[in-house]
């Protein structure tokens, strides 16, 4: 038997109950982090979809004004819109469509006698929309009863709400990371306590703190990788289950979970990258936190 062919034994013994507990709790943290990340992606995706749909369309309303023929006004507005750069099409929805929109509030009786405004649906180039301020002025000049609704108010509200939700998700991620840091600190102390005798001997044979910290730190590498990997797998399982196992009560949730895997076009990489980042961040967090804790604790020993 040759001695050089043998790998030297691990300076810090492998079994450490506190590390197993840490792996389990960190895996749960990583799982929650994945869910928060999923929510963050979905919110931003939804806002993108809504605002893309909304900003591709504006509405022009033409009100009936005494002593004016509304049909002439509508025709004039349509002609103006046809000449405006950035407008792809303009369509009069007609009196019936306008009456249908009013029906829930006013019913069907007596609408004929009322001056019902006419709605024009205008589609615009999303990347080169018309100058709405100029268009509004021109519309007023053509017909005093015409007004422009760009849905800006809705878009602003949606964006604000989504911003709040994103912030909440981000805050959850921060809280998860903070608890993970606290758990790593506890586990590091436990590992150091459990290996007190080894650490003493290492010091006495001339080991530097950095050497001892590295030997213990190595244990946290596998902890971080395992916890992160498990968390991601659990989260993937959850998204797949929600998306495809079909809970009838959760149609929206199912569609949302599925859409995580089918982000449009050039953004398909966001979900895999974000989920992949979880084990990487978990491992770095475990390594850096335990190393700092170790060096601080070792400094207090003789």
């Amino acid at each position: 038997m040759t001695t050089s062919s043998r790998k030297p034994g691990q300076i810090i013994p492998k079994e450490a109950a506190s590390l197993r507990t840490l792996t389990a709790t960190m895996a749960v943290m990583c799982y929650l982090a994945c869910l928060a990340i999923g929510a963050l992606i979905l919110i931003n995706q939804a806002v993108d979809n809504w605002s893309r749909g909304l900003s591709g369309e504006v509405t022009v309303q033409v009100r009936e004004i005494e002593a004016r023929d509304i049909d002439v006004d509508v025709a004039a507005v349509l002609a103006l819109l046809g000449e405006t750069a950035g407008v792809t099409s303009a369509e009069d929805l007609g009196r019936e469509a306008a009456e249908k929109l009013l029906e829930p509030w006013l019913g069907t009786e007596g609408l004929d006698a009322l001056p019902v405004p006419r709605i024009l649906r205008v589609t615009v180039k999303a990347d080169h929309p018309p100058d709405y301020a100029v268009l509004a002025q021109k519309l007023a000049a053509v017909s005093p009863g015409a007004s422009l609704d760009t849905h800006r108010r809705w878009e602003d509200q949606l964006t604000r709400m989504a911003g709040t939700l994103s912030l909440v998700s981000a805050l959850i991620l921060v809280l998860i990371s903070a608890s993970a840091v606290a758990m790593v600190i506890f586990a590091t102390r436990a590992v150091l306590d459990a290996n007190q005798k080894t650490v003493d001997v290492l010091h006495l044979v001339g080991a530097e703190d950095g050497y001892i910290a590295r030997a213990i730190n190595r244990r946290f590498l596998s902890t971080g990788l395992w916890a992160g990997g498990l968390g991601v797998l659990l989260a993937l399982g959850t998204f797949l289950l929600l998306g495809y196992a079909g809970l009838p009560q959760a149609d929206g949730l199912a569609a949302a979970s599925r859409s995580l895997f089918y982000l449009p076009g050039d953004t398909w990489w966001i979900t895999p990258l974000a989920l992949l980042a979880v084990p990487v961040v978990a491992t770095l967090l475990a390594l850096v936190t335990s190393r700092i804790t170790l060096l601080r604790m070792l400094r207090t020993l003789p």
């Binding site: 001695t3 050089s4 043998r6 030297p8 300076i11 290492l202 010091h203 006495l204 044979v205 001339g206």
Partner: protein, 218 residues
């Protein structure tokens, strides 16, 4: 090499364990440290291998006043000192080979560079067969020899040993004393703490006698 000047030690506000201890070991010296149990021999050794700092006085080791050195400067000094602990302090999760090789490993040496030296030394102390056994299955005498091998593997300039022959039979004790004498002949300064008066006859060396925390030279 080693110089103590009026060294005193106590734990916290407790009573003095060592008082006014002054002595000097020249490079290449061989000395015994003796005294009744509880006289402070182990505490004095702990001060010498830098596991404790004196409450009073100064210790100079290799020309450095270690009472004032920052903690980060201690590891290089400790590597120049070999220590045999009374309770061995072997690491149970490492093989005898890995225990003995520990000081070299801590210095960053590769197993391929030291494995031969370690095996030679294990052979010399009669532990070649136990190289890959773990300390819990070794007898007291075998543990003692492994601890001695670990203390000397890095060829320390100063060797401190606390009752190094306490657990071995007289034949092996003689061999171990010869090992220490041999190391001393090669330039290592040796300080042996022991109860065993028999050892004094084997090596002619000054005896430092510690009693009630104070030192006198016999």
């Amino acid at each position: 090499m080693l110089e103590l000047d009026d060294v005193g030690f106590r734990y916290g506000r407790g009573q003095d364990i060592l008082r006014g201890v002054s002595f000097r070991l020249q490079r290449g010296a061989f000395s015994f440290l003796t005294g009744p149990s509880g006289a402070g021999k182990t505490t004095l050794l702990r001060l010498l291998f830098l596991a404790l700092r004196p409450s009073h006085g100064h210790i100079r080791l290799f020309g450095e006043d270690v009472t004032r050195l920052p903690r980060s400067d201690l590891p290089p000094l400790r590597r120049r000192v070999g220590v045999v602990f009374q309770e061995f302090r072997l690491l149970d999760h490492l093989s005898t080979f890995d225990n003995v090789a520990l000081p070299l490993r801590v210095m960053g040496q590769d197993p391929s560079t030291y494995s031969r030296d370690v095996m030679d030394l294990l052979d010399w102390v009669g532990l070649k067969q136990q190289a890959h056994a773990f300390p819990p299955v070794l007898s007291g005498g075998e543990k003692q020899r492994a601890a001695i091998a670990r203390a000397v593997i890095a060829k320390p300039e100063l060797l401190l040993a606390d009752e190094p022959t306490g657990n071995v039979d007289p034949v092996l004790a003689r061999r171990l004393i010869h090992l220490f004498a041999e190391l001393n002949r090669l330039g290592t300064t040796v300080l042996l703490a022991t109860h065993d008066q028999g050892l004094f006859k084997q090596v002619r060396a000054p005896v430092l006698h510690l009693q009630d925390g104070s030192l006198r030279q016999l």
